[in-house]
């Protein structure tokens, strides 16, 4: 891949929208744009960072009315000359315009290539580059919030603080090795700060699972016998979420996937075919696929007709899940008293898909289960790179604490602390000055 040519892409998300943006970036961005754009002033004479009105011509035909902005190197996101056309939305129209740009000499940008150039041109650092790519792939509001948080540097500061307390412990350890004639240090005193840092890191690792759900969304599978109301519950959940309502195609013999915004979490609802033994090959295939969805579901909603007595097949199925809700549907018909004694290790929810009664509770409990109890994700790890580094840091710290316990020599403990510090430095994305000696000289009276 060259980093010196001009790349172009539709910069807005696919799908219908009021406005779509086409972005060109690279040394020929302005001249390529010039060949398509006609306005009062030629593109090359437009001031930087200002919107101007004009027309896009494709093969001599007035194709669209647009607003255009020119950002000249190095004062653009990528650091290269950049042109952005704000066109009327619509996938077909945008596709046609970007193809015209390619014909004029632009190259289709690979995923993330604008960010890559921004990084190469020194406009952003590695952790910012990741945050930007998160923002682009953000699927919902909460995820956006988390991406912004990282850019603002709050995330950054937390890691710096954690590294700081480990470095302080490393300093005491080192003073005890290099300056054993000058200082007397009780190595025991570094245990509490290290344990505390370890706890913090372990919490962050746990938050990854939560962060992953915020960023990538979660799958919630609707399972149960036929005719218990799975499809109507799905419809009900979709109706609540009016912005995303679409027609549900297909048949309940097959699986249906729909996305809802569960108060900020992108949740994919999967309605599975009724699970039951059957000889019909089509239905059997449907059942097999149902099982696959259930296997990868974050949460299974096992739905039963609550107005009827439990079916023995239900009781079998219910005991087979560990992250699920038992949904007693058809509360409008009255709930059969025998369900009270069916108490799986997960919540039981009573609702009516028909009347909507209990749906709010279901949504709240789903969100709570997916994210854990705390409300806002003020500390969430979302990148795999970060969680890997945190796992290394955690391994280093636990090993160091174990070594302290078993009386291993200081230089061995220091090695494990170094592992933890290097792992954190990789997240922080900067070289932190190795100032162990500075700290020792500030803290202790060293030297004969």
């Amino acid at each position: 891949m060259s980093d010196n040519d001009t790349i172009a892409a539709i910069a807005t998300a696919p799908g219908e929208g009021a406005i779509g943006i086409i972005r060109l970036s690279g040394p020929d961005a302005i001249s390529i744009g010039e060949r398509l754009f006609r306005g009062k002033t030629p593109l090359r004479n437009l001031p930087s960072r200002q919107l101007s009105f004009g027309h896009l011509y494709i093969q001599g035909r007035d194709f669209d009315k647009v607003l255009v902005s020119v950002m000249r190197a190095p004062n653009s996101f990528t650091g290269d000359d950049t042109v952005e056309f704000n066109c009327h939305g619509g996938p077909f129209l945008l596709r046609r315009i970007v193809e015209a740009v390619f014909q004029e000499g632009g190259r289709p940008a690979s995923p993330g290539e604008f960010t890559r150039r921004a990084f190469l041109n020194g406009k952003i650092d590695l952790s910012q580059a990741e945050a930007v790519s998160d923002m682009i792939t953000a699927k919902s509001d909460l995820s956006l919030q988390s991406a912004f948080f990282q850019l603002r540097g709050g995330f950054h500061r937390r890691f710096v603080k954690m590294a700081e307390s480990i470095r302080q412990a490393a300093m005491l350890l080192e003073a005890n090795l290099d300056f054993s004639e000058d200082v007397e240090i009780d190595v025991e005193m570094i245990k509490p700060p290290l344990s505390q840092a370890l706890k913090h890191i372990e919490d962050l690792i746990l938050s990854y699972e939560r962060g992953k759900i915020i960023r990538e969304g979660a799958v919630v599978t609707l399972a149960g016998q036929p005719n218990v109301g799975k499809s109507s519950l799905l419809n009900r959940l979709l109706e609540e979420d009016r912005a995303i309502v679409t027609d549900i195609p297909g048949t309940t013999r097959d699986t249906i996937e729909e996305q809802i915004d569960l108060n900020g979490i992108a949740v994919t609802l999967v309605d599975t075919a009724g699970i039951r033994d059957t000889d019909d090959p089509v239905e059997r295939e449907g059942t097999r696929r149902s099982q696959q969805f259930i296997d990868r579901a974050a949460i299974v909603l096992y739905i039963v007709d609550g107005s009827l007595p439990p079916h023995s097949q239900d009781l079998d199925n219910i005991s087979g899940y560990d992250r699920a809700f038992l949904v007693l549907n058809k509360s409008d018909l009255g709930i059969y008293a025998g369900w009270q004694s069916v108490q799986p290790c997960y919540p039981q929810i009573i609702l009516s898909a028909k009347t909507g009664d209990g749906i709010t509770t279901l949504r709240a409990r789903l969100r709570e289960t997916l994210l854990g109890k705390s409300d806002l994700p003020d500390e969430i790890v979302t990148k795999e790179r970060h969680v890997l580094a945190l796992q290394q840091a955690s391994a280093g710290l636990s090993q160091a604490l174990k070594s302290l316990e078993s009386g291993n020599p200081g230089e061995i403990i220091a090695l494990d602390l170094r592992v933890a510090l290097d792992a954190l430095a990789a997240i922080i994305g900067e070289t932190t000055p190795d100032d162990v000696l500075d700290r020792i000289f500030q803290t202790f009276c060293i030297g004969k």
Binding site: G79, D182, G410, R418, E430, G447
Partner: protein, 625 residues
């Protein structure tokens, strides 16, 4: 002007700890070498404390020995007290240290130099360098004699514009009573070197007759003194004790009341001093709450009564020094023989030299020791031997040798100097070494003897001794790995006596040795080695097996480190052409001219993003990355 008839391969200017190692290395490699010193009577002079070694420093002495240098053998022959420091800590931070008989140390080194074939030693004061087309051609002495050479090594110590301070009295001198080299400093400036100013200090020496040792704590040497050199069989000389006392409140009051008369605190001194070797004024000002500071009373020799007051370096006037010294328990009637003083001197900030120790501006000119901003005899000697080796290789037209950070403390030292520079006198610490577990004092020979042999510094005798030791270690490690013990009553009893749990199944001796509570001695009681092994062999075997997991981890880290070290950057690489690079990074890369991506990544203030960018750009430009 008179030009001496002989043209040398290597001229070493300065006969201190850097100069002597440099001259010996070059001559032992067969190069015609001249050691030029301003005073033949101060060869290998210990200007400050009468001791060699210490934590990290002792490591370097062992490395110098493994490469074929002289310092270790010299202290073994002239030491008067030997101790292994950090004995109760881990294997990587244990280090030998010895008090020296100062005069014996000097005389032996002078004798070795005088006997060395291919080495001339002459007295003369450096006045100027002969440089043509930015290449060194020789040196000029104050008497206007020209000595011609292919390469020149400067080891100027504290002599470049040396300025001594005792209170409000200052005079030009490199050491107390010895003239400074003022002209040479100007010559370096004219050649385009940027100079800096550093400071160091030394405490008073007092007569032992005037000390009341009964009030001091005695510090004897080790009962089983261990030699520094792999080639010294044992230490036979009688060991002397040091003594320990401490400053008291009265001492601190005297110092506080006279701070305005201290050269340090009255602003007379411009140079930056070492933080780890602070003057007593500094200690009292910076740590006012500390009740007392340790003072070590160190004998300077078997045939002198001079005692070095380690911990009492100062730049107060003589009348205050007497008061300060006499306020200390045991020293109340002390007679000072030499007063303490501070000395300021010029150095050349070491980012102006290559990792070979050759200077960037002048081809064939090498620097070693305090001129590069270091402090300490061992730091000087480590650079000295490398400068000697590389000047000799350069004179012969061969490729120079660079020790990397995973091979030796000497490698860490030089890499730090040329990559980071230094603004205070640089001293070695174990915490500066990333691969500390591998850079131990016990295995310096395993790390460096083959290299010393290849260079031609290690004699047949020394090399054979190394080969024997290595074979013994390898065979014993192999034996412990392959010998399995099946549980017997005897074994279980021995284990129980060592507070170790009984065997449940057959295990190898190596597995047993990994138990924290079991030592090599205990394990080999269960299954003795076929031959009696020397103590140093047992020690290396024990460390290799006991810490095997950690050592393997460090080896892996070293592999990753070497990958970046091998990614070379062309010497004429144009950093300014990388538009994306931050100005700060361009400026730093251009000034340091790192040899590899690895070295580039260690420059202070360089971020991983800068390195990622540099790596991509090198790839783009088709460099062999």
């Amino acid at each position: 002007m008179w030009t001496y008839e002989k043209k040398y391969d290597v001229i070493v200017v300065g006969g201190g700890h850097a100069g002597t190692e440099a001259a010996l290395a070059s001559a032992r490699m067969g190069c015609e070498t001249l050691l030029l010193t301003m005073n033949l009577d101060t060869i290998a002079q210990m200007s400050c404390n009468p001791a060699i070694g210490g934590i990290a420093k002792g490591h370097m002495v062992r490395e110098i020995d493994a490469l074929g240098g002289e310092m270790a053998r010299n202290i073994d022959a002239s030491g008067l007290q030997f101790r292994m420091l950090n004995r109760r800590r881990g294997p990587a931070v244990q280090a030998p240290r010895a008090q020296a008989d100062k005069k014996a140390y000097q005389f032996r080194m002078k004798e070795v130099i005088e006997h060395q074939p291919h080495l001339d030693v002459k007295q003369g004061l450096l006045e100027d360098l002969v440089v043509k087309n930015r290449r060194i051609e020789g040196v000029v002495t104050k008497a206007k004699t020209v000595f011609a050479a292919r390469t020149v090594i400067l080891t100027t110590g504290t002599f470049l514009k040396g300025l001594i301070h005792v209170g409000d009295f200052s005079y030009s001198a490199g050491r107390a009573g010895e003239q400074a080299a003022d002209k040479a400093s100007d010559g370096l400036s004219q050649l385009g070197f940027e100079l800096g100013r550093l400071k160091t200090g030394t405490p008073p020496r007092v007569n032992a007759r005037s000390i009341d040792f009964s009030t001091c704590e005695e510090q004897p040497g080790d009962a089983d003194p261990r030699p520094f050199s792999y080639h010294t069989a044992c230490i036979e000389q009688e060991q002397l004790s040091c003594h320990l006392t401490t400053t008291v409140q009265k001492t601190h009051d005297i110092i506080r009341n006279n701070l305005d008369r201290s050269a340090m605190y009255s602003g007379r001194i411009q140079g930056v001093g070492p933080r780890y070797c602070p003057s007593v004024e500094d200690k009292i000002v910076r740590f006012p709450d500390k009740e007392g500071h340790q003072i070590f009373l160190e004998p300077e020799g078997y045939h002198t009564l001079e005692v070095y007051l380690n911990g009492l370096s100062m730049s107060l006037p003589e009348d205050v020094q007497v008061e300060v010294v006499r306020s200390i328990p045991g020293l109340d009637r002390a007679e000072i023989m030499r007063p303490a003083y501070a000395v300021e001197y010029d150095y050349v900030p070491p980012t102006q030299i290559h990792p070979t120790l050759e200077t960037k501006p002048i081809a064939g000119l090498f620097f070693a020791g305090q001129i590069n901003g270091t402090t300490g005899y061992e730091e000087a000697a480590g650079q000295g031997i490398m400068a000697g080796i590389n000047a000799a290789l350069t004179a012969r037209g061969d490729d120079p040798i660079i020790l990397d950070r995973s091979q030796a403390y000497i490698g860490v030292l030089i890499d730090d100097l040329v990559t980071k520079g230094t603004e205070e006198p640089y001293r070695m610490f174990t915490s500066l070494a990333e691969y500390r577990l591998l850079l131990r004092q016990d295995n310096a020979d395993l790390r460096l003897c083959e290299l010393g042999r290849k260079i031609g510094l290690l004699s047949d005798e020394a090399y054979n001794r190394f080969c024997k030791r290595k074979r013994q270690i390898d065979e014993e490690v192999e034996r412990l790995r392959s010998t399995r013990l099946t549980p017997t009553d005897d074994i279980q009893t021995t284990l129980k006596a060592s507070h170790s749990s009984p065997l449940k199944r057959a295990v190898t001796l190596a597995e047993l040795l990994r138990r924290p509570e079991l030592s090599y001695d205990t394990v080999t009681q269960l299954s003795p080695a076929p031959e009696t092994l020397p103590e140093d062999v047992c020690e290396s075997v024990e460390i290799e097996l006991k810490y095997e997991g950690y050592l393997d981890r460090q080896e892996e880290q070293v592999q990753r480190f070497r990958n970046l070290e091998k990614k070379y950057i062309p010497e004429n690489f144009n950093y300014a052409a990388i538009a994306a690079l931050r100005n700060e990074a361009i400026e730093k890369f251009t000034r340091i001219r790192p040899r590899s991506l690895g070295q580039a990544s260690r420059i202070p203030g360089i971020s991983p993003a800068d390195i990622a960018l540099l790596m991509i750009m090198l790839k783009k430009r088709g460099a062999s990355v």
